[in-house]
């Protein structure tokens, strides 16, 4: 860019700046500056009305000594372990079945995708009713007496069930688009060689869909690490299972906007970002072992 631009080049440059200006100014004001402020606030005490006093590492020291915080971190990780593998497995299963020659393919797809267009606030309401310990239909079907959303040992699993139910259709649609890119000729060749459907799945489908599978997994993991609305709707603050269920972002919400301690709230947010970053790095590091980019 040391050479002088031609007149046309200069005009192009001005248009370029003009056209990105609204977005860039918006991002600077709405995201870059807030990001810096949040990181700074995590080293501060909130004095009220948006005034902060620098206190060094105190928020982090307190946070790392706080059992509720570690519990929330553990809940978040456990939630990921409960939802990501099962959810991705079921989504892949649905995608493979929809990729076969079945009738009403569109109808099935519409049904599985439906939770995606329903606000979590509305969807969890009916799950609360289904899970209701006294009159809920689930206990009545099984003749059980499980406190699905108030038993501290069970509530997180119930939340995971709803999360998986909500995301299967969406992940399946993403995986289906990956499956549809696999050429039929591979399967034809394998059939002639006498490979069974199961062998075909492991030798052709899985390696060929692995890049899409990887992207879907990363997205699902990131979404699970910042889970909030579903758990917030399922488990209100007076629920005895709260500490065994609340995710990091739920704790962040309560700390920042219910208790008003925005300094320590910011520290939780920074911690969550770090956790997401580490998890993503691990995934990218691990992908070399199983994702196949060759074809």
């Amino acid at each position: 860019m040391h050479t002088k631009l031609s007149r046309a080049g200069r005009i192009e440059q001005h248009w370029g700046w003009f056209m990105v200006a609204p977005t860039i100014i918006g991002l600077l004001v709405l995201n870059v500056w807030p990001f810096i402020q949040t990181v700074y606030a995590s080293f501060c005490e909130h004095l009220g009305f948006g005034h902060y006093k620098f206190i060094g590492l105190d928020n982090y020291v307190n946070m790392f000594q706080n059992a509720e915080f570690w519990k929330a971190t553990g809940n978040t990780l456990l939630f990921c372990v409960l939802t990501v593998p099962v959810g991705i497995f079921l989504s892949l299963l649905v995608a493979v079945m929809l990729n076969a020659k079945v009738k009403f393919k569109g109808g099935f797809r519409t049904i599985f995708f439906l939770p995606m267009v329903c606000a979590p606030a509305a969807v969890t309401m009916v799950w609360r009713w289904i899970f209701n310990a006294d009159y809920g239909v689930l206990n009545q079907i099984f003749g059980s007496n499980v406190k699905w959303i108030t038993d501290p040992n069970v509530a997180l699993i119930s939340c995971a069930v709803v999360a998986i139910w909500s995301s299967i259709g969406y992940d399946a649609v993403l995986l289906l688009s990956g499956l549809q890119n696999i050429s039929r000729s591979y399967y034809e060749a394998a059939s002639i060689d006498g490979a069974s459907k199961i062998t075909q799945f492991f030798k052709i489908t899985l390696p060929m869909v692995s890049p899409t599978l990887f992207v879907t997994m990363i997205m699902r993991l990131m979404a699970s690490l910042k889970v909030y609305d579903l758990i917030y709707m399922m488990v209100e603050e007076t629920n005895p299972a709260l500490t065994n269920v609340q995710s990091l972002i739920y704790l962040f919400y309560r700390e920042s906007f219910v208790a008003g301690s925005r300094g320590s709230g910011s520290a939780i947010a920074v911690w969550t970002v770090l956790l997401i970053g580490i998890a993503t790095l691990f995934q990218f590091w691990g992908q070399k072992k199983w994702v196949n980019y060759e074809v």
Binding site: P22, A41, A119, W129, W165
Partner: protein
């Protein structure tokens, strides 16, 4: 003999596939059916053991009770306005920036695009406290403007539409330029119309995301009359904790518009959301 057994195993495979898909569909659809059935029952009927499947009388009173306890007209209006403004801003600004990033040469392009990527990688919660403080300082809490605020620009939309413009050959823009269009005309008259399917996808994505969002509307608009369908519904959580027919009626009212839109435009919805790859 051999072909016969092969056909047989194929038929079994088909049956298993259909059985699994139908079972899955039943599990997917059951909560919605149960929601609809419950919303027409009396409270006593909903609590019967063993459960009653169909209401003896289809009661509409739960819906009027839900409307009495929540300002549904306002919530619909707030949600629609929030979605409309967010879509307009996302499409307008992201198209401009996406086009510039894809097709124009200007100094600082890579650094500026880096800002876009950075925003996409960070979870929105990291911005939310300072964003809230800005809204409070501007004195616009409890307004439509506050609901729209974080959606004024869209890093994701910019990234996504840049991809769309990258897919259009440079010759198209050059031809328009040679025909006497200036940069702006090339963009609005020639290039922008070519991205219509991506713009439709971004519209669907922005609308569904805004409609589902819970934390921001909850934080920024505490006045019940300024809540969205999602955040308003969240306030019902504690109340009526035993009156499930009213809760189901309220949830149904909150869900209905998006579900109806979805059933009419399912192709656009599914492709739109699959194309955007979500966030």
């Amino acid at each position: 003999m051999k072909t016969k057994s092969l056909e047989g195993s194929q038929r079994t495979g088909k049956i298993v596939t259909y059985a699994a898909l139908i079972l899955g569909s039943v599990i997917m659809i059951f909560p919605f059916v149960w929601m609809i059935l419950t919303s027409f029952k009396t409270q006593a009927e909903s609590m019967k053991i063993p459960p009653v499947i169909f209401p003896a009388q289809w009661m509409l009173s739960n819906f009027s009770d839900a409307i009495d306890s929540l300002p549904f007209v306002n919530m619909y209006a707030n949600t629609i306005l929030m979605i409309v403004f967010r879509v307009i801003f996302a499409v307008l600004f992201s198209s401009m920036a996406g086009y510039a990033f894809a097709k124009l040469r200007f100094r600082g392009k890579n650094i500026l695009f880096g800002i876009v990527l950075m925003q996409m990688m960070l979870p929105s919660q990291i911005f939310i406290i300072p964003q809230y403080q800005m809204v409070a300082k501007l004195g616009i809490a409890n307004s439509i403007a506050a609901l729209v605020f974080p959606g004024l620009v869209s890093a994701f939309g910019t990234f996504f539409l840049r991809q769309a413009y990258l897919g259009i050959p440079n010759e198209v823009a050059e031809a328009a330029y040679l025909d006497g269009c200036n940069q702006w005309q090339t963009f609005t008259k020639v290039m922008f119309p070519l991205t219509s399917s991506s713009v439709a996808a971004l519209t669907v994505f922005t609308a569904v995301f805004a409609y589902s969002d819970l934390m921001w509307p909850l934080v920024v608009n505490s006045d019940l009359n300024m809540m969205t369908l999602s955040s308003g519904l969240a306030t019902l959580r504690g109340q009526f904790s035993t009156n499930f027919p009213v809760l189901m009626a309220g949830s149904l009212l909150a869900m209905l518009p998006m579900v109806v839109l979805y059933l009419f435009f399912q192709k656009q919805f599914i492709e739109g959301i699959a194309m955007t790859g979500g966030k």
